[in-house]
Amino acid sequence: MELTESKKRLIFSAALCLIFFVLLLRFAYLQLYKSKEFFLASEENRVRTIDIEAPRGLIFDRYGTILVDNSPAYALYAVPAELNKSDSAYHILAEALQVTPQEIKERLRRNSQSNFQAIKIERQIDFSTLSLLHERRLELPGVEFRAESRRCYPRGVKAPHLFGYLSEITEGELNLFHDLDYEPGDLIGKKGLERQYESILRGLKGKRYVQADALGRIVGDLTEADNPQLHYVTPVPGRNLLVSIDASLQYYLEHEFTGRRGGAVVLNCKNGEVIAMVSEPNYDIELFSRPVTAAIWNQLVNDPNKPLYDRMLQSLYPPGSTFKLVLVVAGLETGLIDPQERVFCPGYYRLGNRSFGCWKPGGHGAVNLLQAIEQSCDVYFYRMGLKVGLKNWADYARRFGFGKITGIDLIGESPGLVPDEEYFDQRYGKNKWSKGLILNVAIGQGDLLVTPLQMAYLAMTIANEGNTFKPHLKRGVQDPITGTEEYDQPDSVHIPGVSPETYALVKRGMYLVVHGDRATGRAAAVPGISAAGKTGTAQNPHGEAHAWFIGFAPFEDPQIAWCVFVENGGGGGAVAAPIARGIISLLLRENKLIPSSQRLVVAQATP
């Protein structure tokens, strides 16, 4: 049964048609049914997204001076495939960056997507490294320098504890802020304002698109004309932060404290703004505008002077006599102190078989309340302390914010410690502690621990007679493009249960501290302006006494309140009060404080 030629032809033709049809079906499946998916895959193959850095917001002081700025810097990139062509390249780079060649290789491998793509090796290389590497660029194939920005501090105000610094985001932070579009390698505020206001200062990176070939080499730009899905994303600059710092006062105080340990907090009584806050010793903030080496970091961490600590809000100290003001308020409010009552000070006070000395060994003689504040008579306050009792004292101390954080917009604030009966019971055992401990805390010694910021807050609260404000640095935010500024409302705080009469008396006492005949704080007095204050000389086991001086000015209409603190500085009146005078003088000279004389003229002019 031989098939005819035409039958065979038919069979062959049919078989070919069938096979071609099946093939065509497969093409239809790929090109019609799955075409969108494969188109995306082909776009994914060639499209590379390049981030466009957004400038971070600047920080301005209260008068519009730039405190924290951005300046151009260079990051070091290398294309591994090119770099591998030179044997010495890794060694040259390693030497310049002071790491091992293995570390360079490791960094390249860690961030590598393609051997032909430039990978960041180091950000913000310094100028000497840049020029060194640039000189040897013939030996460094594939090495690129790309512009980026770094933080700089043009005004000379170094306040590292306030500004804080930026550093590469950690894995933990990436997880924590996973919904905020951070990417590995991004910089994030680690301390201070940079951290507190990260969300304001941070800009949003833009995106542009380029075309890469199969080896990952960039071969050109891509626009929306190439793929309508690719939208160029304009970088959004971070918003500027307007802070309440007065650059000139901050600068002045930083210099005043150079070489000392301590610092000062100056608050605006009208709204709680921090006008200056200095903590010394500090560290060179410029060091942190580049990647910090382990050596520098370890040196800072191990420095016995603890420069990384913000003494104004992280460190705790006994406040000394400045804290007598709290006892006065407690005594007056509970009616346990009669302001007219005179107490005889022989220079010591005897409790049981122990003798508690007055700072003036010869004694103050008979003193009433105001005289006791003015001269800071310890014996007077020993007796008052016993009268008022630990419970009332601790109650009023807490009302003024001691034992808890003030809530300032900086991280790491310590709450301090207000000892009460429970505390002593716990620490020494029930009824196992003597009343001598009450005498200690009555003059701001012993277990009582405060931060200088809390003391400044106390000064402001007294100046404002209980209607006070939460201390803060941020005044507002400025849009960097439109220049529109938005200001915050200050958080007002009311201290309950203290009468205006009490405040008047305390303030009167504080006025005498500066302007009285026997004033302990007269070193703070500035002609033409009336100030009020309280000195403190806190004994401590670490050496010389801490010098304190808190106060406010002008007396009639308080505008600023301060706390000056010198660690192991000696007498508050002798060491701390002159710094307060410096603060007042500077503000007066720069017409930032209205002198008492002009105030009277103004007062008369208004009906």
């Binding site: 035409s6 062959f12 070919l16 188109f39 070939d213």
Partner: protein, 411 residues
């Protein structure tokens, strides 16, 4: 030995000629697109110009082949075959190639004996099968005719070039079918291969065995023949998985790699994936000539040779693919018309053999580009870059055209 050329030109099958020109033109456009891509390696830059030269030479080859009487090919068929075999043996000793012995380097030219062998084997099989004395119902003749196809195939396997060897396996069966070999014999020979492949899955195995039983019953052969064929298939089916499981991993690996089924992710797997992306992303209209991103950014290695069709798929889309397939099909169907029309059995078998070789290349190459056939390295006739493949296909089409011109002639 050449005949008058005007008459030859008049009798030439114009449709086939036009088809070839369209295919070559499409190939040149695709090669141009590939070789003008960004970062094209220097060695590929002149490929477009070279292919134009190769095609010019092709036209000369075609003229020569078309004008040569079929008698000449009949007369010297075994001589061609012998020369091809010698070259295939020599290439194993003096051949070059990427980790293989596939071609001789003669100055600028690469002579690939397997290309010559394709033509020679077609001629030899055609000649033997068309002998008056040959009777394909005799097992002796059957064995000889298969041997003619298998000897070059085995030599090519040795090179190794499995893809090309497969063409020789595939070549004999359609020619013998055309020569009158009973379909039942073809079935008996091919059934165990189908059983072997299907034996790894109970469902496919059952289907295969049921089909075999059906065909056996339908054929109404003698009982012992039916039973023998059935038992052979059952044995193959049962033994295959057992043998497979008894093998070491590396042995299996070798076999899979050998038959081209083992996809290694960085090699052919990557290629097939990128090929599918290129073709699929072309969509219906394609991205436009010179606008294929997969092509222009060199995501596909060997795109100017084995994967040339992905350029068509990406830049000209489903439309371009369909057009090229229709052109191929027109060419092949037209050739089959000639095969059915010619008076000489030898000529008819040469045409069928040529159609088979071209078809196998087209089907396997396209199947490879869309990921339904293993990556074997068979070029796409007339489109892929390369002189020797182009010339072989030119010779095959020229033989078809020759047959068409002399369709009324007996040898």
């Amino acid at each position: 030995m050449f005949e008058r050329s005007e008459q030859t030109l008049r009798e030439l099958d114009k449709i086939i000629v036009v088809c070839v020109f369209i295919l070559v033109a499409a190939g040149l456009m695709a090669i141009y697109s590939v070789t003008t891509a960004i970062n094209t390696p220097a060695v590929l830059k002149d490929n477009f110009a070279k292919q134009v030269i190769w095609f010019t030479i092709s036209i000369m080859i075609a003229s020569a082949v078309i004008m040569t009487p079929m008698k000449f090919f009949y007369k010297y068929a075994y001589w061609f075959y012998a020369v091809a075999l010698i070259l295939l043996i020599l290439v194993l000793f003096w051949g070059a190639g990427r980790g293989s012995h596939r071609w001789f380097v003669l100055g600028l030219l690469r002579l690939q004996p397997s290309e010559i062998a394709k033509v020679a084997t077609i001629l030899a099989v055609a000649k033997f099968a068309s002998h008056q004395t040959t009777d394909l119902r005799h097992y002796k003749d059957l064995i000889i005719v298969f041997a003619i196809a298998l000897v070059p195939a085995l030599l090519i396997v040795k090179e190794p070039d499995l893809g090309t060897a497969m063409v020789f396996f595939a070549l004999a069966v359609p020619m013998l079918f055309w020569a009158g070999l009973s379909p039942f014999i073809i079935f008996v020979l091919s059934a165990p291969i189908i059983t072997l492949i299907s034996a790894f899955n109970l469902v496919t195995f059952t289907i295969a065995i049921l089909l075999i039983i059906g065909i056996l019953l339908w054929s109404r052969r003698r009982l012992w023949v039916v039973l023998t064929v059935f038992l052979i298939n059952i044995t193959v089916g049962i033994l295959t998985p057992k043998v497979w499981e008894g093998m070491h991993d590396y042995q299996r690996q070798r076999i899979l790699t050998f038959v081209g089924l083992q996809e290694d992710p960085k090699g052919s797997g990557y290629q097939v994936n990128q090929a599918k992306v290129a073709i699929g992303s072309g969509g219906f209209w394609g991205k436009g000539w010179q606008h294929g991103t997969q092509t222009k950014l060199r995501f596909l290695p060997e795109q100017h040779t084995d994967f040339i069709f992905t350029v068509i798929g990406e830049e000209f889309g489903f439309l371009g693919v369909t057009l090229i397939m229709v052109v191929f099909l027109t060419l092949l169907l037209r050739a089959l018309m000639i095969a059915a029309a010619v008076k000489s059995k030898f000529t008819a078998l040469v045409v069928v053999g040529s159609v088979t070789v071209i078809s196998v290349h087209v089907i396997i190459n396209m199947g490879m580009c869309v990921g339904i056939m293993p990556v074997t390295g068979l070029p796409l006739p007339f489109l892929s870059y390369g002189g020797s493949a182009l010339w072989t296909n030119t010779i095959l089409v020229s033989l078809i055209l020759n047959a068409g011109v002399r369709r009324f002639e007996y040898l």
